[in-house]
């Protein structure tokens, strides 16, 4: 400050700043009284709500990503897949001249996707003529089967099939054994065969 020759104003400047400081604290005390109470109450609400939301999220995600998939692949679910795979495999590999249309329609009801198309084509081009011309009759029986892979909406089942075939030319039953890896997919609550791979 340039007015050092006058002691009084310098002194008054100090007093002034002190007074302003007092004013500032007066003002500063007014606001925190409200804000601090607000903040305290805000935390009293935000914290419990956040905890509740966190527990909902934790519970929901554990159910969705761990518990539900486990339920959908448990022993009961595996039994369903196994039964569907056995019935489907037997239906696909069994037909006779007497009720060909019915057995083929029944077989198709167990299939889905590309394998359904493939099977439809194969039965129209190969099975129908063979059955009509040679009187081929075949009966498949699943001797053993077990689930190889299990997921909530798809599965792989290892199937041991024994197939007995007769025809007009060969009336004595011929036994054929095969091993098939059957891929199942869940569609509308039902397990259907989407792939049928002899191995």
């Amino acid at each position: 400050m340039s007015n050092s020759e006058q002691p009084d104003p310098d002194h008054t400047v100090h007093e002034l700043t002190e007074q302003t400081a007092v004013l500032d604290t007066d003002e500063a005390e007014q606001e925190p009284l409200l804000a601090a109470a607000g903040r305290r109450l805000r935390w009293a609400v935000v914290l419990p709500v956040a905890l509740l939301v966190a527990s909902v999220v934790a519970c929901g995600s554990v159910y969705l990503f761990l518990f539900r998939p486990d339920q959908l692949t448990n022993d009961a679910a595996q039994q369903q897949v196994l039964t569907a795979a056995k019935e489907g495999s037997e239906a696909v590999l069994s037909y006779s001249p007497e009720n060909l249309d019915k057995s083929l329609a029944d077989a198709k009801s167990h299939l889905t996707g590309e394998f359904l198309d493939h099977y439809s084509k194969f039965t129209d081009e190969v099975v129908r003529p063979a059955v009509a011309q040679k009187g081929v009759k075949t009966e498949a029986n699943v001797v053993r089967a077990a689930v190889s892979q299990m997921h909530p909406d798809n599965a792989a089942v290892l199937v041991f099939v024994n197939q007995v075939t007769t025809s007009r030319d060969r009336p004595s039953p011929a036994l054929a054994t095969s091993t098939v890896m059957v891929t199942m997919v869940k569609s509308g609550g039902r397990w259907l065969i989407s792939e049928f791979k002899p191995i």
């Binding site: 400050m1 340039s2 007015n3 006058q6 104003p9 008054t12 400047v13 002034l16 007074q19 302003t20 004013l23 500032d24 007066d26 003002e27 007014q30 606001e31 409200l34 109470a37 607000g38 109450l41 805000r42 009293a44 609400v45 935000v46 419990p48 709500v49 905890l51 509740l52 527990s55 909902v56 934790a58 519970c59 554990v62 159910y63 761990l66 518990f67 486990d70 448990n74 001797v143 053993r144 089967a145 077990a146 689930v147 190889s148 792989a156 089942v157 290892l158 041991f160 024994n162 054994t177 091993t179 890896m181 191995i199």
Partner: protein
């Protein structure tokens, strides 16, 4: 309010020095501004009280709540807040307990799955060993099969081991087995049944190779301490 004080003080000044005047004016302006701010804060508080008969504290709390209950009920006594908090705590506690239950169930299932995989892998390894006999090291190959076996199958195989080694050595052949697919049929605490699709390929001493022969097998596995070993081998006809 306090803004009069600097003015009064300036009036009492004798010289009226310019710098002091400027300082005083600045101070007065500052004080006026401070007063205005104080007024504004108080006005906000008054407005809030007018809007809501409750205290400003409740207004501040209500503004952070989305609960429809809070909007419809202007007054919320302490006991109600305590009840809401208690219900929330119970709900959170219940959800966390449920989460913990589901997690422990999942870890139980995961442990079972891991054991299932272990059984299938052990069965596959044992079947590969059983179908893989090299005439050059028939003794070691047979011993390996015995190491992977237990119970009835182990005893049966051991009693025929000598003949088996001799036949293998005489044949001058190398048999190589492989497992195409495997699936767990049944599993219990100490025994399990595994279905396997396997093939074996025989190479004669002159290098002639026969077509791989497919096998359908049902192998019973039994737990031997921390390992699973073959206790019965069945070829499914």
């Amino acid at each position: 309010m306090t803004s009069e004080r600097p003015d009064g003080w300036i009036d009492s000044q004798s010289g009226g020095d310019r710098v002091t005047d400027v300082m005083a004016e600045l101070a007065a302006a500052e004080a006026a501004e401070a007063e205005a701010r104080t007024e504004a804060v108080l006005a906000t508080a008054r407005a809030e009280r007018l809007r809501n008969p409750e205290t400003a504290e409740i207004v501040a709390e209500d503004s952070t709540e989305d609960s429809p209950e809070a909007a419809s009920r202007p007054r919320r006594p302490l006991w109600l807040r305590a009840v809401v908090l208690a219900i929330g705590a119970l709900l959170a506690g219940g959800l966390l307990a449920l989460t913990w239950l589901m997690l422990s169930e999942h870890s139980r299932v995961a442990a079972h799955r891991a054991q299932d995989r272990e059984v299938v892998e052990a069965a596959s390894n044992a079947v590969v060993a059983l179908l893989s006999i090299d005439h050059g090291r028939a003794d070691a190959d047979v011993k390996r099969v015995l190491d992977l076996s237990i119970g009835a199958f182990h005893d049966d195989f051991a009693s025929r081991a000598e003949d088996f080694v001799k036949t293998a050595q005489d044949s001058n052949a190398v048999t190589k087995g492989s497992v195409t697919a495997a699936a767990l049929d049944k599993v219990g605490a100490d025994t399990a049944v595994v279905l396997l699709a396997a093939t074996s390929e025989v190479t004669n001493s002159n290098g002639a190779r026969a077509d791989p022969r497919p096998w359908r097998m049902s192998v019973t596995m039994s737990r031997d301490e921390d390992k699973w070993k073959m206790s019965n081998v069945e070829f499914v006809p």
